[in-house]
């Protein structure tokens, strides 16, 4: 692919090169416009979150700069709300195991499905794909009954199991497709050198799969962090509730507290953003992981 295009460039005239140059700008302008369209709601929310409640009720965020009226009171109100600090910690208690457990289990399972000689592993994969399309809502009642029997309702253990189970099909599927794209020769030569499956998994597959693992971690982290439904159903005790549940409890029946909603959204967004930027360099390589077989 690269070779073909470079020969093409070398034989083109200056005129063609000029065309390419303007093409590039054209693409950039379109990308810029798309980025603006995508960002406008978030920017609006950000500006709103710094406006006093009365100003939010009076006019739209785009009028915020004339006259400029800004306050950090909304953030203070959210941060000082009773139990907000605890719920922030709770969110981590739920999200970190809720991210690591499925990825660890999925990595092992995906390796087995990709490289170990198991009979009917294609069928296992088909079943996993089928699990991907089951809406989470249909499972809530049966899982809740099961949890009641084992006393898991309202415990961290319960919600970790729930998030792990809900995340696993996608994690296994993504990792399996990535693992299978690794060069076969690597596994074969390792085997000839006498490596066990565990050694191959640990020493070869995992180090080569850091981009895929990192991007999966971003996905799973954001899903679990932003989850409200699973927490509402399985985490009934407010003491253990994550931030999403705490934030919605700050809103009245008619959700008229727009100043709180906007500030709280940004506070809750901060952590996934940090995770995203920390792992971002893996993200682009990882996103297409397993999409094509080389």
């Amino acid at each position: 692919m690269t070779a073909v295009s470079s020969t093409a460039v070398s034989t083109t005239t200056t005129k063609r090169r000029g065309l390419r140059f303007s093409n590039k700008w054209f693409v950039h302008i379109i990308l810029f416009c798309l980025a603006v369209v995508w960002l406008v709601p978030s920017v609006g929310l950000l500006i709103t979150s710094f406006r006093p409640r009365e100003a939010i009720a009076t006019s739209g965020w785009w009028t915020a700069f004339s006259p400029a009226q800004f306050t950090t009171e909304n953030y203070m109100e959210v941060l000082n709300a009773q139990g907000m600090g605890d719920s922030f910690i709770n969110s981590f208690k739920i999200t970190i195991p809720g991210t690591l457990l499925p990825i660890i289990i999925a990595a092992v399972a995906a390796y087995a499905l990709a490289w170990m000689p198991i009979k009917g592993k294609d069928w296992i994969l088909v079943i996993l794909l089928a699990l991907l399309v089951i809406p989470i809502q249909t499972t809530l009642v049966p899982v809740l009954r099961l949890f009641n029997q084992f006393g898991l309702t309202g415990t961290y253990m319960g919600i970790w199991i729930a998030h792990t189970a809900y995340g696993l099909p996608f994690c296994i599927y993504l990792l399996r497709n990535f693992f299978i794209s690794l060069p076969k020769e690597l596994m074969e030569s390792a085997k000839i050198d006498g490596a066990s499956e565990i050694t191959i998994f640990w020493r070869i597959v995992i180090p080569l799969s850091v981009p895929a693992l990192a991007s999966l971690a971003i996905f799973q982290f954001m899903w679990v962090w932003n989850d409200l439904l699973v927490a509402l159903v399985f985490m009934s005790d407010p003491i253990n509730q994550p931030m999403t549940v705490r934030i919605q409890a700050m809103l009245g029946t008619y959700a008229t507290e727009w100043h709180i909603m906007s500030a709280a959204s940004f506070i809750s967004m901060a952590v996934p953003l940090v995770v995203f930027f920390a792992l971002q360099r893996y993200f682009v390589t990882g996103l297409t992981a397993g999409a094509v077989k080389q």
Binding site: L100, P207, L232, G252, T253
Partner: protein
């Protein structure tokens, strides 16, 4: 590449969290309580519950949940309901009662269930008690009431056109005309939230036809949506919404794309786009927190939705939440008695923030803030109290009803066909 020691450390940390999570259980009596109230409303409820805890030592865990109905259904089906819930719809209370989920407050023969019958009869009017009665058994009690018959306005604006608070529909229409003549827009309606339109219709209907016909239309469907009484109510509503360009802020498009909060803001902001706003008594709290500079009663106030016929007067259309119990432990019974009694209600009604209007007749009207007092006075003085009709209908019909009214606002000429389509939906769902 990732250091294997780091991975081991992380795994160890996860393991420790797993082990640490298996914590000890506490032995203090605890009651769990699910409600849609949040924010300052929750503070108001807490004002009463904290006093209960201080008095009895029973802890109350409040689960505030904005999606109460689906979550409560899921938790019931999954076998882990809360001990108590504030249920926003009588229809839902009846459904849970018939499914056998609820514990009777008072048994069918009048003997004490969770509480003595006297707790209810001493504190509530019969009409309010009946809202929690399902097939002759008392399963719930209205814990909080709201008038939805309040028209909010700026007294200065009404004086500006030389008019007074209307007592009849004709006077209201005269005010509307006076505003139009003065080059002002009389109404702001948040029609994007279609329940504001159903509330309009319900108020007009109950004033024209009385509470009995109201029940027959919304609850039992003995009166069809093609009935002449419905057409008459729509004709009256049409006087408000047509012509939209002069009567409604933003015309048809503006009305149908404005949510109910923005619609109220449009009347009370410094450069108002309209002069009057109809919605429930709960708007008072919203307006005063959005515009803290406005003095209640002086700068913004509300009047009762005026009577249309002399025969039926001005019944109050209202909403509220019914307290119901899912378990019968003694601490649950104690909390129900507290919530139904005069002390619990007075503390809730007089909370510094998030106070509610209590339907308990022994709560003194003087405990309310000036804003809540407007609402409370309407509930207390109501010639009749009917529950919000769209909360009493099967949910599919309620949805079709609200969409039908949005269609009506957009095309008032098509009223007949819109409502005969609604009748088809209703016929299939009762």
């Amino acid at each position: 590449m990732v250091n294997r020691k780091t991975i081991f450390a992380v795994l160890l940390a996860v393991l420790l969290m797993v082990v640490g999570a298996v914590g000890a259980q506490d032995t203090v009596p605890v009651v769990s309580f699910m409600t849609t109230f949040g924010g300052s409303e929750l503070d108001g409820l807490r004002n009463s519950l904290d006093a209960f805890t201080a008095e009895t030592g029973i802890q109350v865990i409040v689960e505030s949940n904005r999606q109460l109905v689906p979550i409560l259904r899921t938790r019931l089906a999954g076998g882990s309901p809360p001990d108590l819930a504030l249920i926003p719809q009588p229809g839902l209370l009846a459904e849970f009662a018939r499914a056998g989920y609820l514990v009777p407050l008072v048994n069918e023969d009048g003997s004490a269930g969770l509480i003595d019958a006297a707790v209810l009869t001493d504190n509530y009017s019969q009409g309010i008690i009946d809202l929690g009665n399902v097939d002759g058994i008392q399963y719930g009690i209205l814990a909080k009431a709201n008038s939805k018959s309040t028209i909010w306005y700026r007294p200065a604006s009404l004086e500006g056109i030389g008019m007074e608070i209307p007592a009849t529909w004709d006077e209201l229409i005269a005010i509307q005309q006076a505003y139009v003549d003065a080059g002002l827009v009389p109404w702001s309606i948040g029609g994007a939230d279609s329940w504001t339109l159903t509330d309009w219709f319900e108020n007009i209907y109950v004033r024209q036809n009385g509470p009995e016909a109201y029940q027959q239309l919304f609850v039992t469907h003995e009166i069809p949506w093609t009935d002449a009484s419905v057409t008459a109510a729509l004709d009256a509503f049409r006087q408000i919404v047509d012509p939209a360009d002069t009567n409604l802020a933003g015309g048809v498009d503006g009305t149908l794309s404005t949510d109910f909060i923005t619609a109220a803001n449009m009347v009370f902001r410094p450069d108002p786009a309209a002069e009057m706003y109809y919605e429930g008594g709960f708007m008072g709290g919203i307006i005063s927190s959005n515009f803290p500079d406005l003095v209640p009663v002086e700068d913004f106030n509300a009047f009762l939705f005026p009577a249309i016929s002399e025969e039926h007067g001005a019944p109050v259309v209202g909403g509220g939440d019914l307290l119901a119990a899912f378990s019968d432990r003694p601490e649950v019974a104690a909390l129900v008695a507290w919530m139904a009694g005069v002390d619990g209600n007075t503390l809730w009604a007089s909370a510094p923030a998030g106070a509610v209007v209590s339907p308990n007749i022994n709560v003194d009207l003087s405990v309310y803030s000036p804003i809540a007092a407007i609402d409370a006075a309407q509930v207390a003085n109501a010639s009749a109290f009917v529950f919000d009709g769209s909360d009493l209908m099967p949910s599919a019909v309620a949805e079709a009803f609200s969409i039908a009214l949005q269609d009506f606002v957009a095309n008032p000429d098509d009223a007949a066909s819109i409502f005969s389509a609604l009748e088809d939906t209703a016929a299939a769902n009762y």
